[in-house]
Symmetry: C2
Subunit: 346 residues, 2 copies
């Protein structure tokens, strides 16, 4: 373990709370030595980080489902790393682990923090590192519990998901198909829509940049929408509300179109469709299902291995220094699949 | 039955679809003879009509939970009347009945239509005619099933209801108290708020015309709102969403602040509170519970008779000719209690 002394840990910290889209000045860049782990701690070398729309919310002040990232703190991020030093009997050097590593090259995780950052060994034989951040990571867990627990799809239902080529959306639609539903995606651009239909096997995908979403939903959902899984908010949520079937379930998972909104969030003006159609709209936070992740991972890994479930990741190189620019791809809709920042070669 | 020939039936019909608040020109006034009933039919003399916010929606074109009133048709309205002629063995002259009578002085209801207009005998010993349109009528049914089935209150919950002095709201809050909850009302003006607290026994009532509703909800709901029963929409819905407790249920029953909105409906910009708080927002239409009205009426009648449940009706005189003006009281917040139009002395 004497090798740690020579290592420099480059970190990205939240310098100020952004107004609108985060800019480079909202971040600070620090370098720390990597210390030997104390009793019970492990040192993890970051291999890849998950970049998620939710990160934008964590940067804001105020009450939410988890505390905001404090000013001056290392930016929160989930990731995959390799244990390089350990004084915790449950982890050995060389183990591959997932955890809320943060945007940094090395994370030292004490015994008391292991549960808070969800430190867990992962098996590289089941899926690749990017897949462990995607379909077997929080996006996959979000899709699994959001669709199945909150959306309550029944065979034959029409399930619509926005952000269909994104991390959560791709698994939502494929899982809907596996459960016997029709899956209709909404995504931006013909390349994403073609991927969603041809590669992922959705029944249809609506290009919101080219089409009137409301009219296209009428075409593709002639019996109405039974489950709408919303990742985007704004006008697309309104278009979906206008097309609900009776007794529909709307899963509120995210609202990426609104996260950088400087004025008021655009509320869904068609919300009275909930009354007309006796429908419900319900929010979900994936962390509530943490005790059941193993069950979901086992099921999704089975689909992955049998080829019934495909995944696509958009892996950006450049290490932690590239984090500020890479994050913006999400809000510009430039990522194609789950956005992953590669921090180190394994 | 020979007396029917001398009767004139004054009616109010929908002449055109209103833009914004209905004006007198949106109505037409007709007079018809009252014909002898055919086999299976009854003739009902209208005593009182229920004036409801939902009427505004029925005047609009387009898909909703029931078809719109057609142009030239007698305006739809629930009411109480007395059978004056019958060729239906289930009803005798003199029986008091409730039905969707329409805004007219006499309704002839054929056997085939009896179920569609929900023709039913009522017992005047249980409650007064206005009470049969209020707590034992559709407002009471809406409060009962909306609160208990959709709102799912548990003892100790904080239940907030808007339109608290109105037809639905008054029963929602009192029923919440009966079920062991704290009840906080929102109403317009100090007289209504005083009534809601002192007469109906709510724990508190917020005067939205005098107070910042968001701040007042913070004061009166220190642990957050477990059930919010919304009759109004708009800014008050947003204020309630901002104060939800974890796992809250929002019952969407109406949106009176938006029914005459000429531009876009104001969508709830705080809807992401559903995600943060793992809450749900669900619409309800009382007609779905029609088969269970007898159970609800029995329970509510018991509370009425024991004095645990109070009711207040705002009875307007003037007959069907007064309908257009009387209806507007609802949208101006001028009614104090369930708005009833008296059509005839019994």
């Amino acid at each position: 373990m004497s090798s740690l002394a020579s290592l420099a840990n480059h970190q990205v910290r939240l310098a100020r709370r952004p107004a609108g889209l985060p800019t480079r000045d909202d971040w600070s860049f620090t370098t720390q030595d990597v210390a030997e782990p104390a009793e019970g701690a492990v040192v993890v070398r970051t291999l890849a980080l998950s970049l998620d729309p939710a990160m934008r919310g964590w940067m804001n002040e105020g009450r939410s489902y988890i505390p905001p990232v404090g000013l001056g703190e290392v930016m929160r991020a989930g990731g995959i790393g390799r244990v390089v030093a350990s004084r915790n009997a449950r982890y050995a050097p060389g183990d591959l682990v997932s955890a809320a590593i943060g945007v940094q090259e090395y994370a030292t995780i004490g015994e008391a923090d292991a549960s808070r950052v969800a430190l867990a060994k992962i098996d590289p034989r089941i899926a690749s590192v990017p897949q462990w951040l995607n379909v077997l990571g929080l996006p996959g867990m979000t899709a699994y519990f959001g669709l199945l627990e909150v959306g309550q799809p029944k065979a034959g239902d029409t399930v619509v998901v926005s952000g269909a080529a994104g991390a959560v959306g791709q698994t939502v639609g494929q899982l809907a198909r596996i459960k016997g539903c029709r899956a209709v995606g909404i995504a931006g651009g013909s390349a994403k829509c073609e991927f969603v239909v041809k590669e992922l096997g959705f029944d249809a995908c609506i290009d919101y940049k080219a089409l009137d979403v409301k009219a296209a939903l009428k075409t593709h959902c002639p019996q109405g929408i039974d489950v709408y899984f919303d990742n985007v908010g704004g006008d697309i949520l309104d278009a979906a509300l206008a097309r609900l079937a009776r007794g529909a379930r709307v899963v509120i998972c995210g609202a990426i179109s609104q996260y950088n909104n400087m004025g008021d969030v655009k509320g869904p003006k068609n919300y009275m469709s909930l009354l007309v159609n006796r429908a419900r709209m319900e929010g979900m936070v994936v962390f509530d299902y943490a005790s059941r992740y193993p069950q979901a991972i086992a099921e999704l890994a089975g689909y992955l291995q049998s080829g019934r479930l495909k995944s696509r990741e958009d892996v950006v190189a450049g290490g932690v220094a590239a984090f500020p620019e890479a994050l913006l791809k999400l809000f510009k809709g430039e990522n194609f699949g789950k956005l992953v920042l590669q921090v180190a070669e394994d």
